[in-house]
């Protein structure tokens, strides 16, 4: 410890002695202030904790004091939302496929397609079935 720190600590030891001889009236007022402050201690509300846990209790079981129909409503809403999202995604995909097919059919046939054996086979099959 440096001389500076030694001095500082000895100095604070003396200050601490002064603390012990504080005026009793001041000490009492400090104590009263502490009690008042403790009466205003901020605490996390219990309701907030219940909201955080609602998802889990809704699925895993009924917490004491909660209404069962509320949990059923939450689960039904969740299922309805998932179904709608699934349907909407399928609808979007079908629209995209339809646009690609239309573009292919309307577009000119590339010359290379006539050299493709698969395309030739499809053409002959289509011609036969058309008759």
């Amino acid at each position: 410890m440096s001389p500076e720190e030694q001095f500082a600590h000895r100095f604070c030891d003396l200050l601490e002695q002064g603390n012990m001889s504080l005026d009793p009236l001041v000490a009492e007022r400090l104590r009263a202030a502490r009690v008042r402050a403790l009466g205003h201690q901020r605490v996390v509300p219990a309701e907030a904790m219940q909201i955080v846990g609602a998802g889990g209790t809704g699925l895993l079981g009924r917490a004491p004091g909660t209404r069962p129909w509320r949990n059923v409503f939450v689960i039904l809403s969740l299922l309805l939302g998932m179904s709608f999202a699934y349907y909407w995604n399928g609808f979007e995909q079908a629209n995209e496929n339809e646009e690609i097919d239309s573009a292919l059919l309307v577009d000119d046939l590339p010359p290379k397609a006539y050299l493709d054996p698969g395309f030739q086979a499809w053409l002959s099959h289509y011609a036969h079935s058309a008759r």
């Binding site: 001389p3 500076e4 720190e5 001095f7 500082a8 600590h9 000895r10 100095f11 604070c12 030891d13 003396l14 200050l15 601490e16 002695q17 002064g18 603390n19 504080l22 001041v26 000490a27 007022r29 400090l30 104590r31 202030a33 502490r34 008042r36 402050a37 403790l38 009466g39 205003h40 201690q41 901020r42 605490v43 996390v44």
Partner: protein, 186 residues
């Protein structure tokens, strides 16, 4: 989250030092009590849900801010402050830290004369502390009386760690010089 008993223990342990810190700074017992009461209330109301280990730093920040607010409000009517740093000698050979010893005599039952001397010494060191520049006193008390490390002191004071070291060093030398000038020697 700090329980009620943890917050109570913390406040009980810090309230006297907080009062003295405020008293050294504002030099008014009533104002110092108000500052400590407000600081306790703010800590409990706004930070009562924080973990117990965060309370010392939070409380010191609140307390120092309350002292600064008091300074701002009272700036116009505050008296002149004698800056003891200005008395600091340039000659390092005459560094009072080299010769000063303020180790208090510890007797279980001090004689009336010894008790009087001790009281006088106490009054002189408190006077020296009161006359320090505010930032030096703040750094010195936070670092050595509250026992905060340099980083935490810098956080509370809103300055760099280098500034904390400088303030502490200047405060220590100024206090040593002031006590030496008053003849406080072994």
């Amino acid at each position: 989250m700090a329980s009620r008993s943890e917050l109570s223990d913390f406040l009980a342990g810090v309230e006297r030092r907080a009062f003295r810190q405020a008293q050294f700074a504002v030099r008014d017992e009533e104002a110092a009590l108000d500052i400590v009461q407000d600081s306790m209330m703010r800590l409990a109301e706004h930070y009562g849900e924080r973990p117990a280990q965060e309370l010392p730093l939070l409380f010191q920040r609140i307390l120092q801010n309350a002292i600064r607010d008091h300074y701002r409000r009272a700036r116009t009517r505050a008296g002149q402050t004698i800056n003891l740093s200005a008395l600091e000698p340039d000659d390092e050979a005459a560094d009072p830290l080299e010769t000063l010893d303020i180790e208090p005599e510890r007797h279980p039952f001090p004689s009336p004369h010894a008790a009087l001397l001790q009281q006088e010494t106490l009054e002189r060191i408190e006077s020296a502390l009161r006359h320090l520049a505010p930032r030096q006193r703040e750094a010195f008390l936070l670092r050595y009386w509250e026992g905060l490390d340099i980083a935490a002191t810098a956080t509370v004071m809103g300055c760099t760690e280098g500034s904390v070291k400088t303030h502490c060093s200047r405060a220590t030398h100024a206090l040593a010089a002031a006590l030496a000038a008053q003849g406080i020697r072994p």
